[in-house]
């Protein structure tokens, strides 16, 4: 190999490295990160994008260069050099990807642990915890109601960092049904179609499904968990940025799946508290109504358990099976 060749190779390698580092770090492909967990996930993404950009440039470069430089000359009917392999090179290109995926795996493991994914309380699956029950109300609403249980949940638990800080998480029950999310605030009894949380406090969601599989996804938090009928799942996050973020159902749940969306509102502690107070006043009224109607409705026994009242039910689009 001539010095000139060596120089070219080195400068190409440096150019690829610079472009990859630049694109890996500065691409604006992800939405804002609204929690420290989301920032940690972005770290993995940036590393992976850097590596991927490097490999992309290298291999596409080889292909394009070959297509130009190694084209057959007109009239040349001879074969190329009979190179059948090179054990050393083959070992190198087996070893390098191995090391790369090893690094990405360890990094991912670490972040996943920090997100609470390996919290023993949340990362074990004890199978279906409850035989869900089919209900047939006199209003023709047919659905499936899995009652909340005390079993171990599945998903993202408490992050080790929060646990050591001894922060008490805000606990909200999420029930996903065709085509809405219902949020029940255990302490205050508030039931809402939107999720309001105070900034800075860890949030723990217990996720259940009422009919088919749904999924709870907030892109800005980089968290997603399927809501599976008959079992309870859990995710945790610590919102650190006020704002409104979409909550999206990410698992096909029927024709109106695309419309199954609501908002996550991260607000100051004060704003959150006043929202809770408002909701409590409004709901104490409507719950009484619901109980009055409910005498004849077999669904209500279950509905109360999961915090559905007449009003929330009426807001939902009709079920079609």
């Amino acid at each position: 190999m001539t010095t000139a060749n060596k120089l070219t190779i080195i400068s190409i390698a440096i150019a690829i490295a610079i472009i990859s580092l630049w694109y890996g770090q500065s691409n604006a492909l992800l939405p804002v990160a609204a929690s420290p967990e989301a920032e940690a996930v972005d770290g993995i993404f940036q590393l992976m994008m850097t590596v991927a950009t490097g490999l992309f440039l290298l291999i596409e470069g080889v292909l394009i260069y070959s297509a130009i430089r190694f084209r057959k000359k007109p009239g040349d009917e001879t074969d190329g050099p009979p190179v059948e392999g090179n054990v050393l090179i083959e070992i190198v290109w087996t070893a390098i990807p191995t090391v790369i995926v090893l690094i990405i795996s360890i990094y991912s493991f670490d972040v996943y642990n920090a997100m609470g994914g390996l919290d023993p309380e949340a990362s074990r699956d004890s199978g279906p915890q409850q035989v869900a029950e089919k209900t047939n109300s006199n209003q023709g609403l047919e659905g499936l109601i899995a009652s909340v249980s005390d079993y171990l949940a599945l998903g993202l638990g408490e992050s080790p960092a929060n646990r050591s800080k001894n922060l008490t998480p805000l606990s909200v029950d999420v029930n996903a049904i065709q085509y809405a999310f219902l949020f029940t605030y255990g302490e205050s009894g508030v039931v809402s179609g939107e999720l309001h949380v105070p900034v800075g406090q860890p949030v723990r969601l217990k996720i259940t499904a009422g009919d088919v599989i749904h999924a709870f996804w907030v892109p800005q938090l980089r968290v997603k968990q399927d809501a599976v009928p008959g079992r309870e799942a859990q995710i945790s996050f610590t919102p650190q940025r006020t704002g409104e973020y979409p909550i999206i159902c990410a698992e096909l749940c029927g024709p109106y799946h695309g419309a199954m969306k609501t908002q996550l509102i991260v607000e100051s502690q004060q704003a959150y508290q006043s929202w809770i107070d408002q909701q409590q006043v409004a709901q104490s009224q409507s719950l009484e109504d619901a109980v009055a109607v409910g005498q004849t409705d077999p669904l209500n026994a279950y509905a109360e358990e999961i915090g559905v009242n007449q009003q929330t039910l009426e807001q939902l689009p009709p079920h079609t099976h």
Partner: protein, 553 residues
């Protein structure tokens, strides 16, 4: 070598007539073409559905079709493309090529082979018929409980159709395995096998291990659907997650069932048109086996955000990461093969190099998806749609086109037209990237998949995708014109137009009914390009080839 029960029968016929292609014929070459043509027709149907899907997605509202019809369209689109296009097209290629490549007269079980093919048209028509009773609308994954609640008739038809197609695939795999293991010409050892045969060994093994599990899952789903059992129905104590495990135990291997045959085809095509031996024959051969084994233990990476406990998510992350290594070995090996060659940049080679270039993007996004924390963000988003289309369209479909341009002269005795071929390639490659590249960004930003209604902020990128998909639709026309024109009027190709070394090129084009006039001779390795020239006193490849040709005529 004459195990074919059909020998006496096919000796009576002198020549193939076009009517043979509509009969229960046991010649592997007829069956291969039957598979390819049938699956191509379904590709057109699946493509039309895709154009419908993209038209709906040109606007954020649900305005082109009803939301129910939209779900039916993507469900049938996915099912058709997987079970009626890529899987049978791979089987068709294997049927046509394996006996020729190993110097056999036919497959090990010719009748079984015909049975396997003749299950495809009824299976496909059944699925199409579902549109009359309300097509299935729970996605090609058909997760319960949704699949138990959306139109019983359509869902049951879907199940039956997949059961038929799956059975066909199993029968095909038995044949491939038996043929490659037992019907090779006596002097052909395992390391003389063309790499396409290695990849079909790996594919067949995966089919045989995983497809029965899918069949079991679908039969159980069928019971849940029709007689109200509760295998997967949580209202009776069943567990929908068990279905997901069984489904993906087949369907992850299925993605490799869909790519390995084309990995094999590319390993044939690149050396021929780069005029160089394949770089690292053994590494590529063994990487197929490694993929086949590892592919069986990564399925739950499709369930990272589902009912999968944390430790299991970590286990499947590790295995999925490792599968990138054998895949990388292949990609690097292909690059090294063309490096320094004397490349004939014809349509086959363009599609071959296009395959490497597009598959690479799908492979890189695949490694990203293996990372659990990242996958939790993008799972079930358009990022997945981008990934799967780069591997299935950029990979399998481009690989299949490369194979068609490469082996069409063998199958018909005519060349495909190069100009039309290049137009086809350029349109396909541009359309592919325009349609699927922006989807990565859509998914990362938060657009979920399988929706007819989306947030207006995503519209610009969606319009680009839709335009790309129309270019893809247009790109099929030059190909169709080329096929028809070339079959009728194409330039005659001799026995070995590409001067290739594998055995299928040692017989006439199209090959005789019995494949080889006399026992073929294994006079070189499958990829010994340039090898003989460098040794003095030895005949050059050229001379050897003309010797063979002279022997034949």
């Amino acid at each position: 070598m004459t195990t074919s029960a059909e020998t006496s029968l096919s000796e009576q016929e002198e020549k193939r007539t076009w009517t043979d292609y509509f009969t229960f014929n046991t010649d592997h070459k007829v069956i291969g073409i039957q598979y390819l043509v049938t699956s191509f027709i379904f590709y057109l149907i699946g493509g039309a559905l895709a154009a419908g899907i993209r038209t709906e997605l040109a606007t954020p509202e649900s305005d082109f079709v009803s939301p129910e019809l939209y779900n039916q369209m993507f469900t049938v689109h996915g099912t058709v493309m997987i079970f009626l296009w890529i899987v049978p097209a791979g089987a068709g290629l294997a049927n046509y090529l394996i006996p020729l490549m190993i110097g056999a007269k036919d497959m090990a079980f010719p009748r079984l082979n015909a049975v396997a093919f003749w299950m495809i048209p009824p299976g496909g028509l059944l699925l199409m018929a579902s549109f009359f009773v309300g097509a299935p609308q729970a996605g090609w994954t058909s997760y319960p409980p949704l699949s138990l609640m959306t139109g019983k008739a359509g869902e049951e038809i879907w199940i039956l159709s997949i059961l038929i197609l799956g059975t066909s695939s199993i029968l095909g795999a038995i044949n491939f395995l038996a043929t490659i293991l037992k019907m090779r010409m006596p002097e052909m050892g395992f390391f003389d096998l063309p790499l396409f045969c290695w990849s079909m060994l790996a594919t067949a093994a995966m089919i045989l291990i995983s497809t029965p599990v899918l069949a079991a899952a679908l039969i159980m789903l069928s019971f849940d659907l029709i007689v109200d059992t509760s295998f997967f129905d949580p209202t009776g104590g069943g567990d929908p997650i068990v279905y997901q495990h069984m489904f993906w135990f087949y369907s992850h291997p299925a993605v490799y069932i869909m790519i390995l045959p084309f990995f094999g085809a590319i390993s044939e095509i690149l050396p021929v048109h780069a005029r160089k031996p394949i770089f690292g024959y053994r590494a590529i051969a063994f990487s197929s086996l490694a993929i086949s084994f590892l592919g069986l233990i990564v399925w739950a990476h499709h369930m990272f955000s589902s009912g999968t406990p944390g430790w299991l998510r970590m286990f499947f992350m590790a295995t999925t990461m490792i599968i990138a290594v054998p895949t990388g070995i292949k990609v690097f090996g292909w690059c090294a093969t063309i490096w320094g060659g004397k490349i004939r940049l014809n349509s086959a080679m363009l599609f071959g190099m296009g395959f490497v270039s597009a598959f690479l993007i799908g492979g890189l996004s695949g490694v990203m998806l293996a990372s659990v924390p990242f996958d939790i963000h993008v799972h079930d988003s358009y990022f997945i749609v981008a990934h799967l289309h780069y591997v299935l369209f950029g990979g399998s479909v481009l690989g299949l086109f490369a194979a068609i341009y490469h082996w069409f002269p063998k199958m018909t005795g005519k060349y495909l037209n190069e100009t039309w071929g290049r137009i086809h390639f350029v349109l396909t490659f541009i359309g592919l990237n325009l349609t699927f590249l922006p989807m990565h960004q859509l998914g990362l930003e938060g657009m979920n998949r399988r929706i007819a209604i989306y947030d207006a902020e995503f519209q610009t990128l969606n319009i680009i995708c839709t335009i790309g998909s129309y270019i893809l639709a247009v790109s099929t026309f030059p190909f169709l014109i080329n096929l028809v024109w070339s079959v009728l009027k194409g330039k005659k190709a001799g026995a070995n137009p590409w001067k290739a070394l594998t055995l299928e090129w040692q017989t006439a084009s199209p090959p005789l009914i019995e494949n080889f006039e006399e026992e073929p001779v294994l006079w070189s390795g499958p990829y010994d390009y340039g090898v003989d020239v460098s040794e003095e006193n030895d005949q050059s490849v050229q001379e050897l080839l003309s010797d063979v040709k002279a022997d034949m005529s």
